[in-house]
Amino acid sequence: MTDFTLNGSGVSVEADPDTPLLWILRERMGLTGTKFGCGIGACGACTVHLDGQAVPSCSIPLSVAEGAEVTTIEGLSEGGLHPVQEAWIEIDVPQCGYCQTGQIMATAAMLAQVPEPTDEDIDSYLAGNICRCGVYPRIRAAAKRAAELSRT
C-alpha cells in the first residue's frame, strides 16, 4: 500500500510500487488530464508536481510518491482557475492541446520559483516540455502573462 496526498486529499493505492505514477493517476484515479507522451521523461506531457517540483510522472515510480504531496492539473487550483490557466485562456494557447496540461504544470512550478521569468528562464524551465503543434510563441507570451496575473 502506498499512501500519499493527491490534490489535497490523502489516498492509499495498492499496486506494484514500480508502477509509474502516471498510470496510477490516469487509470486508478481517473485523472486523465495528465498525459502519456513518451514514457521516458523526455517530453513533459505527464508533468505533475511532487512536493511542489515539476516532475515527469511517467518516470516516477509509485513508491517515490509515498508520503509526498502530488498535484495534477485537476488539483492545480482549489477553486476556479490558476493564474497560469487564466493566462493560457487569455492568450488562446492550445492547438491540439495534448501537451498543454503538462506545459501549465511546468509553468506553475517555474513561477513558484521564478516569479518574473525572462525568456531565458522560460526556455530553461520549459525545454523539457515538447509541443508538437509548435505553439511555443504563445506559451512564452502566456508564461509572462501568468507571471503578471500571479502578482496581482
Binding site: W23, P94, Q95
Partner: protein
C-alpha cells in the same frame, strides 16, 4: 419570401418535434443523393445549435472556424454552436477524392459555402416562422444573437421557440446569403471553442476515453516491415500480474491487461518470434543509393513536357544543375497511437481520434469483415494528427483484442517507441534539376527528374502523375516556357503516410533552394530574381513583397544575421517566408522568421497566425536535425531522445502577416510548412557560401 413558388425539397428538414434540422449539401449531392443522411445543422427547442460535420479537431482549429461561419450566417451566438462528428462514415461526408478523411487542409475551404447555404436556409425558415407568429412581413425581421428580432417593435423570439413552427416549412431552395457588411464574425479573431477544456484537463482525447470495465492493450509488433509472427508462446506471459489475454494480430500481438503498464511489461516479455523477410538487410544508405541511381535512369515516362527543351538548353547563356535529397520523417503526434474498441461478432464500436474514418471502415471490412452498418466510430479530440492518424492498424488491433476478451472494451495504446518505429513515414525523395538561364537572368528551360517511392500509386493513372510525389513540380509557380518533369519510381518496402503538406514538404525545399542557386548564378538578388521569373499575375508576388517589407529585405541585414527567402503555393494558399540565421561556431541558429500568407479570406486571423507559426516550428525542427533511418530492416530511432524535434529553447520569433487579395479560400493547416526549409538553407548559403542539398542540417554538422 415566396417559397411556394420556388423549387423546394423537404429532405432532411426534420419533422421531429422540437428540432429544426437542415442538411448541409455539397453542390453535387443535391442532385444525386437528395435523401442520404449527411452533414446537417440542427437547432433544438432548448436553443442549442449543433452541426454534424465530418472534420475532426486535431488542433487545426477547424471546429471554431466552422462555428464562426455558421453563427454569422445564421445569426446565432458562436459560442453556443457545437460541432459534432458523425458516428458512421457516409457518402455525404466525403472529400473530393471520395473518402471521409480530415486531410488536405479542406476543413474550412471545402465546407464554407455549403455551411453558409444551410445556415441561410435555416435563418429564412426561422424568420418565416417568426413572421407568422408576430403577424409581420418577413422582411421586417432579422436573426441576431440566437433570436428572431423585430427591431421596431423591440421584440426578440429565441430560435428555440420557433423551431417547431419552422420545421413544418419547406427548406428554401434559393437561400439569400447575408451581404458582406453583415459578415462580422468571420475575418475576426475569436478564441477557440476548445481552449478552456484543454487548459483545465477536462478535454477528452482519444487516449482519455474511459469505459466501464475497460481493459488495456499493449502491442508487440514485428520490427521489420513485411515481417509477421513466426511463433508465439502466449503462456510465456499468462501468469504475469494483470495479464488477461494474449491476442495475435497482423504483424504482432496485443497483450490485454487490467492496466496498461502491466500489459506493457508482458508485451515486452512475450516470447514471440517473427518471420525472416528480404527486408531484414535493408539499410538506409543502400536505399538512398538505389534512389540516387534512379536519377540517371533512361526508361522513365515523361509526366509533363512543354516547349522545346533541347532548343532552349542549346540557346541558354548558362546551365545550372543540382541534386537534392530528403530523408524519411516520422509524425510523432504528441498523443501516441491508440484506439478503444468494444466489439462482438456483429457489432463494433470504436472510440478514437482519427483523421481517417473511411479508411478505418474499409480496413475493418477488409481485415475482419465488419460491415459499415455494424460499425460506430466515436471521434474524440486528437492529440495531433499531421497526416499520421489516417490509418486502421490500431483499430484492427483493438477490435481483435476486445473480441478475444468477450466483448470487454479494450484500449490499445502504442508506446512512443512503437509509434516511432512502426512506419507510416514521410517518404524519402531525391531530385535532379537542370535549368537554362538567359543572359538577363530569365529561366528559359528546366528539366526535373524526381526519384523515389510513389506514395499515391493507387490513384495514379497516367505517366506517373502522382500528386503525393509531384505537387509543387506539376504546378511549378515560375514562368518557365520550356519545362519537363518525370518520376523514376523506386518502391521502398516501408509503409508511408502523408506528412503535413505531403509532396510540398519536400518540393517546396527542392524548388526554392534551386531557384536560389539560379539567382546566384544569374548574379541577382534572390527576391528580385523570383519576381522577375514569376508570372505577372501570380499570387506569389503580394506575399513575397509583404514578407520582404517585414524583413526589410532591401536594407542591410543586422550584424551577424544572414537571410534567406522563399515562396510556395500549396492547398490554394501562398506563403512566403524570410528566415534569419546566425552562426554559432559551426551551428546554425534561427532567431527569427517572417511569414506572409494569402489564404483567401482569413476566417479567424488569430488561428491562421498560430497555424503558420506552428508550421514553421514543425518544418524547422525537421530541417535541423531529425530523420528516420533503417539498419538491418529496423528503424534506428526510438523516442524523442534520438528523434529530437524542436523545443521551446530553439523556437524563433515568428512574425506572421495575412495578405488578402480577394482570392478564393485556401487551406491553412499545411501551407506554412513548405517554404521553411528552402528559406532556411538559402540563409545558410548567405551565411556560409555552402549549399545544403540534403536534409537535415545536422548531417552537415550544422545543427
Amino acid at each position: 419570401m415566396t417559397q411556394t413558388t420556388r423549387r423546394t425539397f423537404l429532405a432532411g428538414s426534420a419533422a421531429t418535434l422540437g428540432v429544426l434540422s437542415v442538411p448541409i449539401r455539397l453542390p453535387a449531392q443535391e442532385v444525386t443523393q437528395p435523401s442520404a443522411p449527411g452533414a446537417y445543422l440542427r437547432i433544438g427547442a432548448d436553443n442549442s445549435v449543433t452541426c454534424i460535420l465530418p472534420t475532426c479537431e486535431m488542433g487545426q482549429g477547424t471546429h471554431t472556424g466552422q462555428a464562426q461561419i455558421l453563427a454569422e450566417e445564421l445569426g446565432a451566438d458562436w459560442q453556443t454552436i457545437r460541432i459534432e462528428m458523425p458516428v458512421q462514415p457516409g457518402p455525404d461526408y466525403r472529400l473530393p477524392f471520395g473518402q471521409m478523411r480530415s486531410v488536405g487542409s479542406y476543413g474550412i475551404r471545402h465546407w464554407h459555402d455549403p455551411m453558409r447555404r444551410a445556415a441561410a436556409q435555416m435563418r429564412m425558415m426561422l424568420i418565416e416562422a417568426g413572421a407568422s407568429r408576430l403577424g409581420v412581413p418577413a422582411d421586417e425581421l432579422s436573426a441576431v444573437g440566437g433570436a428572431i428580432v423585430h427591431a421596431a417593435y423591440g421584440q426578440a423570439i429565441p430560435f428555440g421557440e420557433l423551431v417547431e413552427a419552422a420545421s413544418a416549412l419547406p427548406v428554401p431552395a434559393d437561400p439569400v446569403l447575408r451581404p458582406e457588411e453583415e459578415r462580422t464574425l468571420t475575418g475576426r479573431t475569436v478564441p477557440r471553442l476548445d481552449t478552456r477544456v484543454k487548459v483545465t484537463g477536462e478535454a477528452v482525447f482519444s487516449m482519455d476515453v474511459t469505459l466501464p470495465d475497460m481493459a488495456y492493450g499493449a502491442v508487440r509488433m514485428a520490427p521489420v516491415f513485411g515481417s509477421d509472427v513466426a511463433a508465439m508462446n502466449a503462456d510465456s506471459v499468462r501468469g504475469m500480474p494483470g495479464v488477461i489475454e494474449v491476442v495475435q494480430v497482423p504483424r504482432g500481438a496485443v497483450v490485454v491487461g487490467e492496466s496498461w503498464w502491466q500489459a506493457k511489461q508482458a508485451a515486452d516479455a512475450l516470447d514471440i518470434t517473427f518471420t525472416e523477410t528480404e527486408n531484414d538487410g535493408l539499410d538506409t544508405p543502400a536505399m538512398e543509393a538505389e534512389i540516387q541511381a534512379a536519377l540517371d535512369r533512361a526508361d522513365v515516362p515523361m509526366t509533363l513536357e512543354r516547349g522545346d527543351l533541347d532548343g532552349a538548353f542549346a540557346g541558354a547563356a548558362q546551365v545550372v544543375e543540382a541534386d537534392y535529397a530528403v530523408p524519411m520523417l516520422a509524425h510523432v503526434c504528441m498523443e501516441p497511437i491508440n484506439c478503444t474498441a468494444q466489439a462482438t461478432d456483429d457489432r463494433v464500436e470504436l472510440w478514437t481520434g482519427t483523421q481517417g474514418h473511411d479508411w478505418i471502415r474499409m480496413g475493418l471490412e477488409r481485415a475482419l469483415g465488419v460491415t459499415a452498418d455494424q460499425l460506430i466510430i466515436n471521434t474524440a479530440y486528437l492529440g495531433g494528427g499531421f497526416g499520421r492518424k489516417t490509418w486502421e492498424n490500431e483499430a484492427i488491433q483493438a477490435v481483435m483484442a476486445s473480441r478475444a476478451v468477450g466483448g470487454r472494451p479494450v484500449k490499445v495504446i502504442w508506446a512512443r517507441e512503437d509509434d516511432v518505429q512502426q512506419g507510416l513515414y514521410r517518404q524519402t525523395m531525391q531530385i535532379r534539376f537542370r535549368a537554362g538561364l538567359s543572359e538577363d537572368g530569365r529561366i528559359t528551360a528546366m528539366r526535373v527528374r524526381m526519384a523515389g517511392p510513389q506514395m499515391g500509386a493507387a490513384i495514379v493513372r497516367d505517366n506517373n502523375m502522382d500528386p503525393f510525389s509531384l505537387l509543387g513540380l506539376i504546378n511549378i509557380a515560375y514562368d518557365i516556357p520550356n519545362y519537363a518533369l518525370d518520376h523514376a519510381v523506386v518502391p521502398i518496402p516501408v509503409p508511408l503516410s502523408p506528412w503535413r503538406s505531403i509532396a510540398e514538404s519536400f518540393n517546396g525545399y527542392f524548388v526554392e533552394s534551386f531557384i536560389d542557386e539560379l539567382a546566384d548564378a544569374a548574379g541577382q538578388d534572390p527576391l528580385a530574381f523570383r519576381l522577375a521569373n514569376l508570372p505577372a499575375e501570380s499570387r506569389a508576388r503580394p506575399v513575397l513583397e509583404r514578407v520582404a517589407e517585414m524583413a526589410d529585405w532591401s536594407g542591410a541585414a543586422p550584424e551577424g544575421v544572414s537571410r534567406g527567402i522563399s515562396v510556395v503555393e500549396s492547398y490554394n494558399s501562398y506563403v512566403a517566408q524570410v528566415v534569419e540565421v546566425t552562426m554559432e561556431g559551426e551551428r546554425v541558429r534561427v532567431p527569427r522568421v517572417h511569414a506572409a500568407i494569402d489564404c483567401g479570406r482569413a476566417i479567424n486571423p488569430g488561428q491562421v497566425e498560430t497555424q503558420v507559426q506552428g508550421s514553421v516550428i514543425e518544418a524547422l525542427g525537421a530541417a535541423l536535425r531529425v530523420k528516420i533511418s533503417l539498419a538491418g530492416g529496423r528503424t534506428e530511432q526510438t523516442n524523442f531522445t534520438d528523434y529530437p524535434i524542436l523545443r521551446i529553447d530553439e523556437a524563433p520569433q515568428i512574425d506572421v502577416a495575412i495578405v488578402e487579395t480577394g482570392a478564393p479560400l485556401g487551406g491553412v493547416g499545411e501551407p506554412g510548412v513548405p517554404p521553411l526549409a528552402g528559406a532556411l538553407c538559402n540563409a545558410v548559403f548567405a551565411a556560409t557560401g555552402q549549399r545544403i542539398r540534403s536534409l537535415p542540417l545536422a548531417d552537415h554538422g550544422l545543427a
